[in-house]
């Protein structure tokens, strides 16, 4: 692999609290090439904060520090807000959990996708329209003409997520951050959506960060996995090795899942060890 697309070193995010600052993310470092990187953890582990910090989408009171946050030739730490606006959506796209909330309820599918094209200067209105229709076809929507005229409330969850993928990928971003993209969907739809996301990301040669609480899903879908707990990275490992993970936290998460292939009397409830969290020494 050549130069990584994204290089994050010692990313720390802190929020003001009664006792000075509380760290939501502590010294998180990772690099991403062209592959699919999964970030797993429980709620509050900092996985979404990590995704949002890369896009600088955290609230203004958050204090973001890092030794390095390089995205290609762009330094995300020092880029101006104006520059960030063109990066967000244009070069780094984010797919959110629930299309019912993430899409504009007052605009049709087509006009939202065209808007995404226009903001990121994909061409004239007519070209944007063609691109949008082609994109709807690319996300395997059977009848793009019909769906293009619908409003978000007329879409099913799976269809809404396809529209969102189409909208986010139409400006050809180099990096896609998918934050729990299938958690609001049924299991039988989940596979299709991940397939489509996979296919599109591959076709455009983009990198993917896949944030999820679902360990087996991430294991099957990604190349590499970061396991997070308490705002820190517990371990990074190849997805195929997830089942043989070494870190006690990853093992505990694995074991707490009711198995599908055998009956167990009592489920393992993870016990947390404060020693996993490093204090001030890195």
């Amino acid at each position: 692999m050549t130069e990584p697309m994204l290089d994050v070193r010692n990313l720390t995010v802190a929020y003001p609290s009664h006792q000075g600052y509380t760290e939501a993310l502590r010294r998180v470092s990772f690099r991403l090439g062209r592959g699919k990187l999964g970030i797993v953890g429980e709620s509050g582990s900092g996985k979404s904060t990590a995704g949002r910090a890369i896009m600088r989408l955290l609230p203004p009171k958050a204090r973001i520090t890092a030794d390095r946050m390089q995205f290609g030739e762009i330094d995300l730490l020092t880029a101006s807000e104006k520059r960030m606006r063109s990066i967000r959506g244009g070069q780094i796209a984010m797919i959110l959990q629930d299309p019912r909330y993430a899409l504009n309820p007052l605009k049709t599918v087509l006009s939202q996708i065209i808007e995404a094209c226009r903001i990121h200067k994909v061409g004239t209105r007519a070209e944007a329209r063609d691109r949008a229709m082609a994109m709807l076809e690319d996300v395997h929507i059977r009848d793009p003409r019909r769906v293009a005229g619908l409003y978000p409330h007329e879409l099913s969850g799976g269809m809404g997520q396809r529209v969102m993928i189409a909208m986010m990928l139409v400006p050809s971003p180099r990096l896609v951050i998918a934050d729990e993209p299938t958690s609001a969907l049924d299991v039988t739809v989940r596979g299709q959506i991940l397939d489509i996301l996979d296919e599109r990301v591959e076709a455009q040669g983009a990198g993917l960060i896949f944030i999820s609480h679902d360990l087996p899903l991430v294991g099957a879908y990604c190349d590499d996995v970061l396991v997070m707990y308490g705002g820190q990275i517990m371990e990074r490992l190849a997805a195929r090795d997830l089942g043989a993970a070494q870190h006690p936290y990853t093992v505990a998460l694995n074991d707490s899942l009711p198995p599908l292939d055998r009956r167990v009397a009592v489920l393992q409830v993870p016990e947390y060890d404060s020693a996993w969290l490093q204090e001030d020494q890195p």
């Binding site: 969850g157 596979g191 195929r240 089942g243």
Partner: protein, 274 residues
């Protein structure tokens, strides 16, 4: 052998009228033995929660029969019914009164049903669900999701019911927290000989918790099978097989590790079959 504890026969529920009419549940029938745990699994919109709400009497507009110990449940449900049947809801963030201390939330059913020794009962039930007694003096926003769901279970248990209706009791929780709540529910059922009807979209949860499972889609129960059959994928119904495949499709942790070939096949089919 006495009559089965809970018997549902030909239960149908519809919403709306005329062309807008939606048949949410069609002729659902099942039987739950005393002390058993019965699961209903299906995707969103399959009608699984609608069945539970009809049984609980939250929606009285159903046809068919709901019998407890062979006796038809009255409409509207009376106090005697709720003494025996209680429900635990999905979202512990929405099911507890935000402006009430836990103690007040727990006190209410005891008052309505005229129980004595309220404070002793509250202490006991909190202990039973694994919470320290000082939780009685907290507000819901001071509790984590898992703690709240334990309070919701405690509230249901206070009346010493025989049947618990569980509507996705752990789907708002992390897997690590889910493990604790499922263990608790399992232990309570065994210790108190409770009967459960558990609704979930999660095959793992249902297979772990229940002995018999109904599979629902589009308002119908398409198959009823044992948890063992579910685990061993002995199903005769296409939809059930599809559901099992989707649930297992991306679980290399359970299957052989590193089998990349098996990884994408089922989902690839799903897209291109369209």
């Amino acid at each position: 052998m006495s009559a089965p504890e809970l018997e549902i026969e030909g239960l149908s529920v519809s919403f709306g009228q005329g062309t807008q009419r939606i048949q949410a549940v069609q002729e659902a029938s099942f039987v739950v033995e005393r002390g058993a745990s019965y699961g209903i699994i299906g995707e969103s919109g399959s009608g699984k929660s609608t069945i539970l709400r009809a049984v609980a009497g939250l929606n009285e507009d159903y046809s068919g029969s709901v019998r407890i110990d062979g006796q038809e449940a009255p409409r509207p449900r009376d106090k005697r019914f709720y003494k025996r049947v209680q429900m635990v809801f999905q979202d512990p963030y929405g099911s507890l009164h935000p402006r009430r201390m836990i103690r007040a939330t727990l006190l209410e059913p005891l008052r309505i049903f005229g129980f004595d020794n309220a404070d002793r009962r509250i202490r006991q039930v909190l202990e039973d669900v694994g919470l320290a007694t000082h939780f009685a003096y907290r507000y819901p926003h001071q509790l984590s999701g898992g703690q709240r769901q334990r309070v919701a279970i405690a509230r249901a248990l206070l009346l010493e019911p025989e049947i618990l209706l569980l509507d996705e009791p752990t789907s708002a929780l992390d897997v690590s927290v889910q493990a604790g709540v499922l263990n608790l529910l399992d232990a309570l059922r065994r210790d108190r000989c409770l009967t459960y009807v558990l609704v979930s979209h999660d095959l793992r949860v249902v297979a772990h918790m229940c002995s018999r499972v109904a599979v629902m889609t589009q308002g119908r129960i398409v198959e009823e099978l044992s948890a063992d059959a579910l685990r061993e994928q002995r199903s005769h119904d296409d939809y059930t097989r599809q559901l099992i495949a989707a649930s297992r499709g991306r679980t290399p942790l359970d299957a052989v590790n590193g089998e990349g070939a098996a990884r994408s096949d089922p989902r690839k089919d799903a897209v291109h079959a369209k």
